[in-house]
């Protein structure tokens, strides 16, 4: 019996010593390692690897250890745990909505101290970045991160279907009225069985509480802006999405959703587009590298989003890089971010990944100019950046987005009166805002 105890103890000690040994392996080489968390979609990862190789080649002595966390929700959950257990990464790639919580936790640095530091960047460089992106990088007008890439939405359409429906394939819809009438012409019941075999325009409606809820809101906001509306007032005291503009935009969605009987249509729009049962949908530039292969049997193109009764608008988004206070080498982390926002690097990254550049100066880079000439679809997205708009919510952004998503779902799937759905949702959001500001 005694012998067994010692045997067990020996095994326990062995385990403990093996685990301790793990820590000593680090720092064997002289490279300074920066841990970088991201959740790019898997098709972007090869481009990211090339980017990191480029950085390491140009900056000998530094290593970027990129760690992939699948999708945004797990990323923020993992960040919280890591902050509590003091194992946060040096840099993380973030959605704008996460910044509020991270600042409250005192987990990330203000960007000012790096920008104005001795290895900083000039005022002109900073102002060259699209203002909407800087707005999303901030919280309460203080810069806490810098954008890594930009995205927006454009209209993907099938040229052949346009021809068959008697529409000009080189004249995609320019206004809401055109979008509606085109969608109607492109919605066809081929065998007269009461269900549509081809749908004109995919209205992206998903369960509000699910992982795609915020994605639905993101795609709705351009319509809100095109009608002249806003998400929230300037002082961030109440939401404004239930304004007349909001009603107008959601009514458009409601009508198109019901006229095309989208409740019995798949919500896998990409599959529908590939299989030739969908003519138009909204989509982002990050899919472009994939579509070359995936859509090679279809004559497809991208067009700017149609403009609304008030103006042109598309949503501008992106992902943002923040430096964590737990980082041992914040200066090296900054070095990477500073390198990342250079026009040449942005051009390289943009051409490889399909994401959009974050600053005006990139359009002066010769390779990028050349690239735009040969890639008209990509150009649509880049040109649209000028109409890109942003509205940052500083309080309870995640829950307000969910409430907004509920209103969209209720008006489309639930056929609830648009005004009522928006008002009830806004009331919930305003209550939240009031509590958060107290």
């Amino acid at each position: 019996m005694k012998k067994n105890i010692f045997f067990n103890l020996a095994i326990i000690f062995l385990f403990v010593s093996i685990n301790c040994g793990g820590d000593n392996k680090k720092n064997k080489s002289d490279n300074v390692e920066i841990v970088f968390w991201h959740s790019f979609i898997s098709s972007t990862v090869p481009a990211l690897n090339e980017l990191i190789q480029k950085f390491e080649k140009e900056n000998p002595g530094y290593k970027i250890n990129a760690q992939y966390i699948p999708s945004g929700d797990p990323l923020i959950q993992k960040l919280i745990t890591s902050i509590q257990s003091k194992t946060a990464p040096d840099i993380s790639w973030l959605h704008s909505d996460f910044i509020e919580d991270l600042v409250e936790a005192d987990a990330i640095y203000k960007m000012d101290q790096f920008i104005k530091g001795k290895d900083g960047i000039s005022e002109e460089d900073l102002n060259d970045i699209y203002p909407s992106l800087l707005q999303y990088s901030s919280w309460k007008e203080t810069l806490y991160s810098l954008p890594m890439e930009a995205t927006n939405l454009a209209l993907l359409y099938n040229k052949n279907m346009f021809k068959k429906a008697g529409l000009d394939p080189n004249h995609p819809p320019q206004t809401w009225e055109e979008l509606k009438s085109y969608a109607k012409k492109l919605t066809i019941d081929k065998n007269n069985d009461g269900t549509f075999d081809q749908v004109g325009f995919f209205v992206p409606v998903f369960p509000a509480a699910g992982p795609l809820g915020s994605w639905m809101v993101w795609q709705f906001t351009p319509f809100l802006w095109q009608a002249g509306g806003s998400l929230i007032d300037k002082e961030q005291t109440k939401v404004l999405y239930n304004s007349d503009a909001g009603v107008q935009a959601l009514t458009l969605w409601q009508e198109m959703y019901n006229d095309q009987k989208l409740s019995t249509f798949t919500n896998l729009f990409e599959n529908a587009f590939v299989s030739g049962s969908l003519a138009m949908a909204m989509d982002g530039p990050w899919n472009l590298p994939r579509y070359k292969e995936l859509l090679k049997n279809i004559d497809w193109a991208f067009a700017p989003l149609p403009s609304g009764p008030a103006k042109n608008a598309t949503v501008v988004g992106g992902e943002y890089l923040a430096i964590f206070k737990q980082s041992k080498n914040p200066d090296v982390a900054w070095k990477f971010i500073k390198w990342m926002i250079q026009p040449e690097v942005q051009a390289f990254w943009s051409m490889k990944s399909g994401y959009l550049p974050i600053r005006h100066a990139v359009s002066e880079v010769p390779e990028f100019k050349e690239y735009l000439k040969n890639h008209s679809d990509f150009r649509v997205f880049v040109d649209q950046l000028e109409f890109g708009r942003a509205e940052k919510m500083d309080y309870e952004a995640l829950e307000i987005t969910r409430n907004f998503a509920e209103a969209i779902e209720r008006a489309t799937v639930g056929k609830v009166d648009v005004k009522r759905a928006l008002d009830e949702s806004a009331e919930k959001s305003n209550k939240l805002l009031k509590n958060a500001r107290e």
Binding site: I5, Q77, L102, E104, T195, F206, A208, A209
Partner: protein, 320 residues
């Protein structure tokens, strides 16, 4: 006659005395010195149990009276505010209703179906083992993978189910986009996923019923149905009772298949209690509120189980 060796008898005695909670007087082996090795041997389990079960249980109870966003180290005491807010929240009752619908939709279906399959497979039929394995397979498949497959099957355009019913001239059903159909879709998948384990339990129960009851009934001229109704069903009661308690608990806790299959939609029609807890804990980071919801779930399950034990115990036959 069965002869028992002295060692076996001794062991039985030890077992009996330890069950009664008495000190083992036969050998007097339980000395102080045995505690340390016992703890050492138990330590891996004890450490895991304390860290991942015991601590969270008490900590979430503590949290349910606090406000905490997980980011900051500070928790603010707010008394029973979380509970008051929850009971005044319409959405909570909606969620509670959905959970009840799911539970009382799955359980009867699940139990009838698993008993039927177990009963059929209890007879001497061809390919019994293969069938049993096939019916059990869904239980061991990862719920997420299974839900992804079912989401494809339910798809209105590319789905197998609408295609199959279309052959019989039935109009396509709007499975995941209609509140009623989505709950039905969830219940169907829930039954498919869990009936295998109940089938195994029923099979074990069936095997425990002595053959001579059936023989006696046969002599008295009973047919299949009377035998089933008057012998099998009453003698299976302990198994049925156990399955019912366990099924209610697991149905109230359903989450993974909901998250993947319907994401609580459409219009929140399939948002169940644990999904609600998840949303508040890991999407909005209201840890205190989520813990309170978790404790309400616990209270509900505790109450239901107590009621079941109290009212069903006397009605259940046991052997011996």
């Amino acid at each position: 006659m069965i002869s028992t060796s002295p060692e076996v008898q001794e062991e039985k005695l030890i077992l009996a005395s330890s069950i009664k909670g008495g000190k083992n007087k036969l050998h007097g082996k339980e000395k102080k010195g045995d505690l340390l090795p016992a703890l050492l041997f138990l330590s891996p389990t004890l450490i895991i149990f304390t860290t991942f079960i015991l601590f969270p249980v008490f900590f979430s109870f503590y949290l349910s009276f606090h406000e905490w966003n997980m980011f900051s180290g500070e928790t603010t005491f707010i008394g029973i505010d979380n509970y008051v807010r929850m009971f005044n929240n319409e959405e909570f009752w909606e969620v509670f209703k959905n959970t009840a619908i799911y539970t009382f939709g799955t359980i009867p279906l699940n139990m009838c179906f698993s008993l039927l399959v177990a009963y059929i497979l209890h007879k001497k039929i061809m390919g019994k083992k293969l069938l049993r394995t096939a019916f059990f397979a869904p239980v061991v498949i990862s719920p997420v993978a299974a839900a992804v497959i079912w989401r494809w099957m339910y798809d209105p355009n590319f789905g197998l189910i609408n295609y199959s019913i279309g052959i019989f001239g039935i109009d396509p059903i709007n499975w995941l986009n209609d509140p009623v159909a989505a709950m039905a879709a969830l219940i169907i998948m829930g039954v498919w996923k869990t009936f295998g384990i109940n089938m195994v339990l029923f099979s074990a129960g069936l095997q425990a019923i002595p053959e001579h009851y059936y023989e006696a009934a046969q002599i008295d001229g009973a047919n299949q149905w009377t035998k089933f109704w008057n012998i099998t069903v009453p003698l299976l009661a302990p198994t049925t009772f156990f399955i019912m308690v366990m099924s209610i608990i697991s149905s109230f806790q359903v989450f993974d298949i909901v998250y993947v299959l319907t994401s609580g939609g459409p219009l929140g029609a399939t948002k169940v209690l644990v999904f609600y807890v998840y949303e508040h804990a890991f999407k909005f980071f209201n840890m205190g509120y989520a813990s309170a919801a978790g404790y309400v779930l616990f209270a509900i399950l505790f109450a239901i189980t107590l009621l079941q034990v109290k009212y069903m115990k006397n009605k259940v036959y046991t052997f011996g």
